[in-house]
Amino acid sequence: MRRYEVLYIVHPDLTDEETKAVSDRYSDLVTAQKGTIIKVEDWGRRRLAYEINKQDKGSYILIDFYGPGSMIKEIERNFRIDDKVLKYLTVKTRDPFDPSMLEKEMEEKARPESLISPEEAEETPEKPAEEPAAEPAAEKEPEEGE
C-alpha cells in the first residue's frame, strides 16, 4: 500500500455541477481501482501561474488516497484522455503506507494547532537577517582574488 495525492486542474469553462461530475468520476475511478479515498478537496477556481491550453484559470481538485501502486497508471491514463482536465500531478506522500497510521495522524492533527501561533510570532523578527547576510559574502570576494 502506498499513499498518494493527485492534484488536477479542471477546465474553467465548466459549470460547478459539471466540475463536480468530473470530480466524482475520478473519485469513483480511484475506488474502482481498489484505492481508498482519505479526502477530496475542492479548491475552487484559481488563477494559474501560467497559461495551460490558452486558459489562465482552472478549478483545482485534490484527492488524497491510498492503494496499490499499480492503480496510478490507470488513473493517469484517464487524465491524459480527458480533455476537461488541463493538467494533473501525482505525488507519493507515503511509501509504504499502513492504514492504521491514519488514525494516529488524525489524533496528531488535532493537537499541533495550539503550537503554531506562538512560534509563528517568533519568526517575524528573523526576516531582516537575510539582508546583512548578503554583505559579508560580497566583502569576501576581493580577498580571495588577491
Binding site: L7, I9, L48, A49, Y50, I52, G58, L62, K87, Y88, L89, V91, P112, L115, I116, E119, E122, E123, E126, A129, E130, P132, A133, A134, P136, A137, E139, K140, E143, E146
Partner: protein, 84 residues
C-alpha cells in the same frame, strides 16, 4: 605587499544563519503551501540559493523539489513577469 596581505587575512565570518525548517519543526515543506514557497523565491520566481536563505542542505533539497512540483501544476510560475 606581504604586510598588506597579512592585514587582510583578518577574515570576517558571516554570521552562521540557521535553517528555518530545522529551527521550527512545525514548518513543513509542502508543494501546496504557497506562503512558504513564495518566501523562498524571488519576485521573478527563482529559487533563493542556500547561501542567502541559510537553509540546511536537506531542507533546501526538499524545498527545491516542492517548488518544482508547484511549478508543474501551475501553482507557482516558471518565470514571473515583473511590472516595471
Amino acid at each position: 605587499m606581504a604586510m598588506m596581505h597579512n592585514k587582510k587575512k583578518k577574515r570576517i565570518f558571516p554570521r552562521r544563519k540557521i535553517c528555518r525548517f530545522c529551527a521550527d519543526s512545525t514548518m513543513l515543506i509542502d508543494y501546496k503551501d504557497l506562503k512558504i514557497l513564495k518566501y523562498f523565491t524571488t519576485e521573478r520566481g527563482k529559487i533563493i540559493p542556500r547561501r542567502i536563505s541559510g537553509n540546511c542542505a536537506k531542507h533546501q533539497r526538499e524545498l527545491t523539489m516542492a517548488i518544482k512540483q508547484a511549478r508543474q501544476i501551475a501553482l507557482m510560475p516558471y518565470l514571473a513577469k515583473t511590472t516595471h
